[in-house]
């Protein structure tokens, strides 16, 4: 009987050690946010191109995280991506003419949504609340489009310059 209690004690200690390790992993390593889930309200926004944005990407104002992307879907009628975002309830004074843009953190980092506050003229602007839509959105910068503009934009410019020169010569004659 004494032997059984000795075994039980050590096995109990072993299990406690395992639980402590799990808690350490959860809190200090993975930063599990689920337990201190602050109240949040949900808004949605439509973009032309979300680039590499993923669900649970942060929403930042001036670099400070105030919310998270909860859902990314295509609008069934217009086939444009609709992004649903949950914003911390503590930030309830955001005017609804604010704009959203998709930026990249660092050079190779993952993408996040940046919110620039619109102005509040005191009378007509409403604050964002649950279910609001943000209309002013800028899409993510897609590298291929950028390169395409660089390569073919020059050709367009030189065509314009030639056409300008021809019309100038035609005028002067």
């Amino acid at each position: 009987m004494r032997q059984t209690t000795k075994y039980e004690f050590w096995v109990g200690l072993f299990l406690l050690l395992g639980i402590a390790a799990l808690v350490f992993l959860g809190l200090k390593v993975a930063n599990v946010q689920g337990f201190n889930e602050a109240k949040s309200y949900h808004i949605s926004a439509t973009f032309d191109n979300i680039g590499g944005l993923k669900v649970r990407a942060p929403l930042k104002v001036g670099g400070v995280v105030i919310g998270r992307v909860t859902d990314i879907e295509l609008d069934p009628k217009t086939y444009l991506p609709v992004v649903k975002i949950a914003i911390n309830q503590a930030y309830h004074d955001i005017p609804d003419n604010s704009s959203l843009s998709i930026k990249t953190s660092g050079l190779l980092g993952e993408q996040y949504v940046a919110l620039s506050l619109g102005f509040d003229d005191g009378e007509t602007t409403e604050m964002l609340k649950d279910g609001s839509k943000i209309i002013d959105t800028k899409s993510a910068i897609v590298l291929e489009d950028l390169i395409g503009q660089f390569l073919y934009g020059d050709k367009n410019k030189s065509e314009h310059a030639d056409a300008g020169k021809e019309s100038a010569e035609a005028d002067s004659q």
């Binding site: 039980e8 390790a21 959860g26």
Partner: protein, 261 residues
């Protein structure tokens, strides 16, 4: 001679299938049945002590040293790219996803798996299993079943302890010795480690490894040739087969979980 080789190959395949079948039968007999909590719970506790608590020392020490080595090697390479603040992410992800479950399984197979095989093989050789049957005690439910459940419970816990100690060891080397900024170390790690994608997947892996290692150990003990040479062969087979199965299963699980289609 070619005919002999081919027929030997066929014989090996048939033996493999038969042993797979008898292993399945053994596990079925051990697990299926009315759970007799009052009789079997003390046995489970004793086996948890033997398999889990007595493996703690080797698991924690190995975890500590592996974490420190990854921290050191990672720092040496990352500092060339001025990216040493990502050291925490490197240590945590490699331990959580791969090294934690796999190395724990290999160490467990070597230490606890061989002990299980030798113990059950000796029980078979000294005819203790047959005496149990003659006393109308089912040896599968009294001997095999507590050891199986103890192994399946203990090994994932050991893997978690290994990973936690390893991450702490990596932080010892990175932050305390090499001078990586403590705040960035932990915050970059927290940003990149996801509960469901990394920690849970690592836990599922260690669960699969636990079942395979303990099953192989018990099967090799239960079906060994009941001589001293047979027991030694069975113990070797346990360690070799369990290690190979763990590594092969690791690749399959990694492809499924992290291969992204």
């Amino acid at each position: 001679m070619i005919v002999n080789m081919i027929s030997a190959f066929g014989r090996t395949a048939i033996t493999f299938c038969r042993s797979l079948g008898s292993a399945g039968f053994m596990l079925w007999g051990a697990l299926i049945g009315k759970p007799q909590i009052r009789k079997h719970f003390p046995l489970l506790i004793k086996q948890l002590h033997v398999l889990g608590v007595q493996s703690l020392l080797i698991i924690m020490l190995s975890g500590l040293f592996i974490g420190m080595v990854i921290g050191l090697q990672g720092y040496v390479v990352l500092v060339d790219f001025a990216a040493e603040t990502s050291l925490g992410q490197l240590v945590a992800l490699s331990l959580l996803r791969e090294l934690g479950p796999v190395v724990t399984a290999l160490l467990f197979a070597g230490r606890a798996g061989s002990a299980l095989t030798a113990e059950i093989g000796l029980m078979k050789a000294t005819e203790q299993l047959s005496s149990l049957e003659m006393m109308a005690v089912d040896p599968l439910r009294r001997v095999i079943s507590p050891r199986f459940w103890a192994g399946v419970i203990a090994m994932p816990i050991l893997a978690i302890i290994f990973t936690a100690v390893g991450i702490w060891g990596g932080s010892l080397v990175g932050v305390d010795w090499k001078g990586v900024d403590a705040g960035s170390f932990w915050s970059v790690m927290q940003n990149s480690v996801s509960w469901s994608y990394d920690i849970l997947n690592g836990f599922i892996k260690s669960l699969c490894f636990a079942v395979s290692v303990v099953w192989i150990a018990l099967f090799n003990g239960y079906h060994c040739i009941p001589t001293s040479e047979g027991i030694s062969k069975a113990t070797t087979k346990t360690v070799v087969n369990a290690s190979l199965v763990v590594l092969g299963l690791d690749f399959v699980l990694t492809a499924v979980m992290f291969g992204a289609g």
